[in-house]
């Protein structure tokens, strides 16, 4: 059984303002909430333009739209426009308060949703909110892990899919092991009409291709798409349909033109979101990057072959269902920082059109359990198969290599640590001999002893602090000295995290814990701080032993 903070929820507000992909990634959580909290009412707060889309998401009872476009337009007007925007917020807060939610879950880490939730004043929460001073508050340790894992320098050490981390921050254990979306018959009819109008000469598999990506650097070049599609059309009797939003026509049109085949059509801009879901369901497979349509294909049960280029990272946001293929380039700079543009996306070269075509053909033939290193050179790209572990957490298994890469041990160790420490799952313990090797300096664990020592010193200092708080004869100077030493110690822990990159997740979790102490009573605060140091020390020890056990 998983550890849960708030086992019983009656009226849940899920804040998921901006993205369709996010909404889809929340579907296992929503389904789980319904299942584990019978009769639970679920409201989602989304940006107005997604309200309609939410109607094809199962298990949602109510959708509230927030008109950010109106707010922005009003703010742009300045002057009394600001008052209009203010009144909009005022009304929104009033409306949300009226609903009397007993639990909220904020998926977005934006400051404004955090402020909004504090304004609405929902006592129990599993995600981002803020305190009355405007500070960010992340109470749930799973949500803290979420924040820790997406810190850029920590990303590569994380192997937990964000869908699961998010699910756990909402205390959801049982879930459908896939994303969910309803496909409406009208949408299917629309897609049939689109396909019916096509002049396919091939009769083989229907392959969907989502060529567009959210960022230029994540955009595999149209020439490569053309080459890959040509192989599929020529060698596999494939019918290819290119999907996308209207603005993606600039990417897709040249591909269609380049293929110059009746078996390659574009439905870009001709499908609404529900219709796209239907189209993906019709398809036998989807070739894509890390995109919204990828999650949608997963939700309709269509397998995907997905390329995680540039900043995209398969462990983090990979396809959340069994048996999909994920290509992750092996390159020193990847996954790169999403906030930086890239002038020379060398990672694209690691994925060849032939390889993708090969994997597509293999996946069409059935589940893929192995890929020959001769086809996919593991020094350039690792091909993973998505699956679920025994605790129901999504995972990626490498298919073209037996050798774990440099990060793998850290990823595995962290995975075990968090499942055990935060989830309360029972994790097979490493052999004692391995545990005893903690004393041996391992390159991957450098700095761990120092952090653990700091955690220990912290507990001693807290002991002294508690004495100082209780003993009224202690001077302010002494109290101040202890407090100063604690501050210095915390700075040191943070600095050690930066110094020893693989360990940063440990120190970052500690920092989040300290940022989110509750209340003002000194003794209670001291006791919470003590727990943070204890957690850190314990996690250091456990992490070391799991790492060595790998």
């Amino acid at each position: 059984m998983m550890k849960k903070r708030y086992p019983h929820k009656k009226k849940v507000l899920l804040v998921n303002i901006t993205r369709l992909g996010d909404m889809l990634q929340a579907t296992p959580t929503i389904a789980g909430l319904k299942e584990e909290n019978p009769g639970c009412h679920i409201t989602v707060l989304v940006e107005k333009q997604f309200v309609d889309v939410c109607h094809v998401i199962p298990n949602i009872d109510e959708v509230i739209g927030i008109d950010l476009a109106f707010v922005c337009r009003s703010l742009d007007r300045e002057g009394d426009g600001i008052v209009d925007a203010y009144e909009y917020v005022d009304e929104l807060v009033r409306r949300l308060r009226e609903e009397k939610f007993d639990y909220c879950l904020n998926m977005s880490s934006s400051a404004y949703t955090a402020l909004l939730l504090n304004l609405v004043g929902i006592e129990r929460n599993g995600g981002w909110t803020s305190d009355e001073q405007g500070y960010r508050v992340i109470e749930s340790q799973w949500a803290q892990l979420f924040a820790t894992s997406v810190f850029h320098q920590n990303r590569q050490y994380n192997s937990l899919n964000l869908v699961d981390v998010f699910r756990c921050s909402a205390d959801v254990e049982s879930h459908p092991r896939k994303l969910l979306i309803n496909v409406e018959p009208e949408s299917e009819a629309h897609c049939e009409a689109l396909l019916g109008a096509a002049q396919f000469t091939n009769t083989g598999p229907l392959i969907a291709v989502q060529a567009g990506a959210s960022q230029a650097k994540r955009q595999w070049s149209p020439a490569r798409f053309v080459e890959m599609i040509k192989i599929l059309v020529r060698d596999h009797n494939a019918r290819v349909v290119l999907t996308g939003a209207p603005k993606e026509a600039v990417i897709v049109d040249p591909i269609v033109a380049g293929c110059a085949s009746p078996n390659v059509i574009s439905v870009v801009g001709r499908t609404s979101v529900p219709q796209l879901a239907a189209m993906l369901r019709k398809a036998d497979i989807l070739i894509t990057g890390d995109t919204g349509p990828m999650h949608m294909a997963v939700a309709v049960g269509t397998p995907v072959v997905s390329m995680f280029l540039a900043s995209a990272y398969g462990f983090e946001t990979g396809p959340y269902s069994e048996g999909n293929l994920v290509l992750q380039p092996v390159i020193g700079c990847g996954p790169c920082n999403p906030n930086k543009a890239c002038g020379r996306p060398d990672c694209h070269d690691t994925v060849s059109p032939q390889l993708v075509a090969h994997l597509v053909a293999a996946r069409l033939a059935g589940d893929v359990r192995e890929v020959s290193p001769a086809v996919a050179d593991p020094r350039l790209v690792v091909v993973y198969r998505s699956t679920f572990d025994e605790h129901g957490f999504c995972d990626l298994v490498p298919l073209n290599t037996a050798q774990p890469d440099a990060m793998t041990r850290h990823r595995r160790a962290y995975r075990k640590l968090w499942l055990e420490d935060l989830g309360g799952f029972s994790i097979p313990q490493p052999k004692p001999a391995a545990a005893g090797r903690l004393a041996v300096v391992d390159e991957g664990l450098r700095g761990l002893d120092e952090i653990a020592a700091c955690a220990k010193a912290g507990q001693d200092l807290i002991g002294r602090l508690e004495v100082c708080i209780r003993d009224t004869s202690i001077t302010a100077a002494e109290l101040g000295e202890v407090s100063q030493r604690l501050t210095d110690l915390d700075s040191k822990i943070e600095a050690l995290g930066f110094q020893y990159g693989p360990l940063e997740s440990l120190s970052r979790m500690f920092i989040f814990a300290k940022e989110n102490l509750k209340g003002t009573d000194p003794l209670s605060l001291a006791s919470q701080m003590n727990r943070a140091y204890q957690d850190l020390e314990r996690r250091c020890v456990r992490f070391g032993s799991y790492y060595l056990g790998e």
């Binding site: 002057g79 009394d80 203010y86 009144e87 404004y112 009355e132 405007g134 850029h152």
Partner: protein, 926 residues
């Protein structure tokens, strides 16, 4: 909606609003005579239609007939009379007034056309007051329409105002406009008319317009050519100098003026009673109480024979009882009344009426001559209808009269305090002698015969002036009104002010002091320091060799600066621009500012005889403040400046103050004799003969020859303000000789006082200053400063004072006290703003009410904290942006209120959406 329709909509709105606020429409009959409305309408129609053939088969059309004042008269002469106006509501009122008359048709035309009237159908089209109060676009449209409906043989006659362009800005669209005659004639010809005659045959209007250099003219037009487009006609009408200045409050509505004119004419003809009636009608029926009807009343009154009923001088039991209360409550007023001598009563008498005694002064009845009580009640109810008056916590009434209106006000519910100012102790005594006013006196919050000091009244005050007193006591009431408006201006107005400094020269610090004083007054001002650009300005001389090339380069440079400033004002708009002398403000720049409705001000702190650029520039300023009087004020006014006022420079007590100097500083900066300033001709000539004294000269442009080689300090470098304060403080005797480039010694008729005089005094430094004609009103010679008139005189005084430090100290201390009291920049800015706000209050208030902050504040009335935040941010001088609203919300520094959290929410939404296109993970990591 087209701009014309929009304009029409706006005009209709104003006409309707006016209908709502013009409280009384005239009865059709007053005291047995036809109402003055019809009488004046008859007279004016005769004037406007003179020489135009009438007849039963002819059609006459009035553009802008309003309540139909002239339609009855027209219907007596034309078979068909059509009155056209903008508003259905107004037309309905006109129907009510005129009653049924088969010859009169009333048409409503909401789109500034005469659409319901067919082409070539009218014999005569006229407009008496309407066209002259409409915006040029509307005039253009209607001229074009008039051309369309006129028969080829028809005539159009308009009353227009000609003079200089006066296009008054303000909250209203409808107000009198004057055009340059040639502009109008050009417009008329574009509209397809031939201008037959422009004559002054129409009655002039009560002098009110003449004061603005404008006269009413009758324009006779015949159709000739096809009309040009509305835009072209309007273009011709556009003022060449936009926003030429005139106080908008000074010109009341034309209907009232016309009626007053009529009264004047009656009085001239000896019809005194009718003239009185007409004037009473104006008093009671016109909303605008500030109409200047002095002339007419004087003319009317001169012919009225007073009826004396009560001896205003006699003692009576009533008087004794009233005086007892007066002594108890208002001892100052009591002293003034009690001190009256016998001879002082002749100007006042009291008549008896059915409703009680009425007090007369200087031939004018201070109450209603027949129904004082009833008239007072009407006056009070009308006055209180105006919201600002009704809501005011304090009302100051100018004029005691018989006290009826005060009793009425006291009886009206509300917690307002009532103050009364009666300028005439004699009239007050007459009232006290004739009526029992004990209750009234006991309830007043204040009563004085001296001009009241608003500072003594806590809270906001509204001034109500009795119309009679407005005439009789205009000399004291006008300053009182100005004082109130400027006081209200300082507390109520928050115009955005920019102080534009010069590129170089001695005026730079004056700009700084001005800006600092504005800030101390809590005004939203910002200083624009241009001195940094001087280097570039000077460098141009190196690059451009020829004189012409230099001039072109300098002009381009200034043009570049002003273009940049305009962009700056686009981003951070202002309402008032104060240019210091020599500020780089071109005519084009100033006109652009005025086009934007910005009030332009020049503080010309230079000798107008030496610097003459004001000749070209004065007309681009709404206000020019000078350091000279008389000839200077007249000359600059004549050069076209809106208003010209005397405002000498001053001291900044925060900089110009006594200093404790170290012995080292004293040795460096001090001397028995010191002078700070540039080496002008007269200074060189005079100071050369003082070389035998321990004498230090500081400043630039001095010769290097003897004796100056030893007198002039530090290579004649420029001395900063901070440094010269040290010199003033460290020296025994500071010489202050006003500069002259031409004459030797003391300028015999030098007038203005230089800044150094005030600065020295404020430092508590002893100065010997040359005699100036304007010095006497600033400082008392011999007590606060010591003056000299010539070189021998200066020598004598140096000899006298050099060995008398105590005498010097006494005079310096007195000088400092005077400077601090009367001559600080704070005082000057208060005066300057008093003038500007007094005369531009409506304009600035209207701008403010249209400003985004005002809209925000009004809009946020349901959210107290938000509203308070807006007000605070506005007071900080911030722009109306979200950033301004949250700039003082510091997260993590205490609990955020709900309002703050909501604003922060918006702030983050805005910030968030500024980074579009980032993926989910990107956001999370941002």
């Amino acid at each position: 909606m087209s701009s014309l329709l929009k304009l029409a909509e706006q005009m209709r709105h104003e006409v309707d609003r006016e209908l709502g606020s013009t409280v009384q429409l005239p009865d059709n009959n007053v005291a047995g005579h036809e109402s003055p409305v019809w009488q004046s309408g008859e007279r004016d129609f005769l004037a406007v239609s003179s020489g135009v053939p009438a007849g039963d088969n002819r059609t006459a059309v009035e553009i802008g007939c309003r309540y139909g004042r002239m339609l009855r008269a027209a219907a007596r002469r034309f078979g068909r009379v059509v009155g056209v106006d903008l508003s259905e509501r107004v037309a309905n009122r006109a129907r009510d007034m005129i009653g049924s008359d088969a010859r009169v048709e009333l048409l409503v035309s909401g789109d500034l056309t005469l659409a319901p009237i067919s082409d070539s159908s009218a014999d005569f089209v006229w407009s008496f007051s309407a066209l002259s109060t409409m915006p040029p676009l509307a005039v253009a449209s209607l001229l074009r329409e008039a051309r369309r409906i006129l028969k080829p043989t028809g005539t159009m006659r308009l009353r227009m105002f000609f003079g200089r362009d006066i296009a008054l800005s303000g909250a209203t669209v409808m107000f009198p406009r004057a055009y340059r005659r040639e502009s109008f004639e050009r417009a008329a010809s574009l509209a397809g008319f031939q201008v037959l005659e422009v004559s002054g045959a129409l009655p002039a209007v009560a002098g009110a317009l003449a004061a603005h250099g404008v006269e009413a003219m009758a324009v006779t037009l015949h159709p000739s050519t096809p009309a040009a487009s509305v835009e072209m006609i309007a273009e011709a009408l556009m003022p060449t100098t936009a926003h030429a200045s005139a106080g908008s409050a000074a010109i009341p509505d034309m209907e009232s003026l016309a009626t007053i004119d009529f009264a004047a004419a009656l009085a001239e003809e000896g019809e005194r009673e009718r003239a009185q009636q007409v004037l009473h009608y104006v008093e009671t029926c016109c909303r605008v109480a500030t109409i200047d009807i002095r002339d007419i009343l004087e003319r009317v009154v001169a012919r009225s024979a007073p009826k004396i009923a009560v001896d205003a001088r006699g003692a009576s039991p009533v008087l004794e009882a009233n005086m007892r209360v007066l002594r108890e409550r208002f001892p100052e007023a009591h002293r003034a009344v009690a001190a009256l001598g016998d001879g002082e009563h002749s100007s006042v008498h009291v008549t008896d009426t059915a409703q009680g005694p009425a007090v007369w002064r200087e031939g004018a009845c201070l109450d209603h001559a027949e129904k004082p009580r009833q008239a007072a009640a009407v006056w009070v109810s009308r006055a209180l209808q105006e919201k600002r008056v009704g809501d005011a916590p304090n009302l100051l009434v100018a004029g005691f009269g018989g006290g009826y209106h005060l009793e009425e006000l006291l009886a009206t519910p509300g917690d307002r305090k009532l103050w009364c100012y009666e300028p005439s102790a004699v009239a007050l005594r007459a009232a006290l002698a004739s009526r029992d006013l004990v209750a009234c006196l006991s309830s007043l919050a204040g009563l004085s015969t001296e001009a009241p000091d608003f500072g003594r009244i806590a809270g906001s005050v509204e001034l109500l002036v009795r119309p009679q007193n407005a005439l009789l006591d205009s000399g004291v009431v006008q300053p009182l009104r100005a004082q109130l408006v400027s006081r209200r201006g300082l507390s109520l107005l928050h115009p955005r002010i920019a102080v534009l400094g010069p590129l170089q020269g001695g005026t730079i610090p004056t700009g700084y002091y001005t800006q600092a004083a504005l800030q101390r007054f809590g005004q939203h001002s910002r200083g624009i320091d241009m001195s940094g650009f001087n280097k570039g300005y000077e460098l141009l001389d190196d690059l451009a060799r020829s004189e012409r090339g230099r001039a072109v380069a300098r002009n381009s440079y200034v043009e570049m600066l002003t273009t940049t400033m305009l962009q700056n004002f686009d981003e951070k708009p202002i309402d008032v621009l104060i240019c210091m002398a020599q500020a780089p403000a071109s005519a084009k720049f100033l006109e652009e500012m005025r086009r934007r409705g910005v009030v332009t001000v020049l503080w010309f702190v230079e000798d107008y005889l030496r610097f003459s650029y004001w000749r070209d520039m004065a007309r681009h300023y709404d206000f020019v403040f000078t350091i000279q009087r008389d000839g200077c004020l007249e000359a600059i006014k004549a050069a076209g400046a809106g208003e010209v006022h005397y405002l000498p420079t001053a001291c900044d007590p925060f900089l110009h103050r006594p200093l404790e100097l170290s012995a080292e500083d004293r040795a460096l900066w001090g001397s028995q004799l010191s002078f700070v300033g540039a080496g002008y001709h007269n200074r060189q000539q005079m100071f050369a003969s003082l070389a035998h004294y321990p004498f230090k000269i500081w400043g630039s442009e001095w010769p290097t020859c003897k004796p100056f080689d030893t007198l002039v300090q530090q290579n004649a470098r420029r001395i900063s303000p901070e440094e010269y304060v040290k010199i003033f403080n460290a020296s025994d005797i500071n010489l202050n000789l006003h500069s002259s480039a031409e004459r030797d010694g003391v300028e015999p008729n030098g007038d203005f006082v230089n800044p150094r005089t005030f600065e020295l005094a404020a430092c508590g430094a002893f100065q010997l200053v040359d005699e100036r004609t304007l010095l006497g009103e600033c400082f008392e010679a011999g007590k606060e400063v010591v003056t000299f008139s010539s070189l021998p005189d200066l020598r004598d005084k140096i000899e006298h004072y050099k060995s008398r430090p105590e005498e010097r100290a006494v005079i310096a201390a007195a000088g400092r006290a005077r400077a601090l009291r009367d001559h600080s920049y704070d005082r000057r800015i208060e005066q300057m703003l008093g003038v500007i706000y007094g005369s531009k209050f409506q304009h600035l208030a209207a701008r403010e009410s249209e400003s985004p902050w005002s809209k925000m504040i009004e809009h946020s009335s349901g959210h107290e904290e938000l509203r308070a935040r807006c007000e605070k941010a506005r007071a900080r001088g911030e722009q109306p942006t979200l950033d301004a609203l949250v700039s003082d919300v510091v997260t993590g520094d205490g609990k955020l209120s709900e309002t703050e959290q909501k604003l922060m929410f918006l702030f983050h939404v805005k910030k968030h959406t500024l980074r579009p296109g980032l993926s989910k993970k990107e956001e999370r990591q941002g």
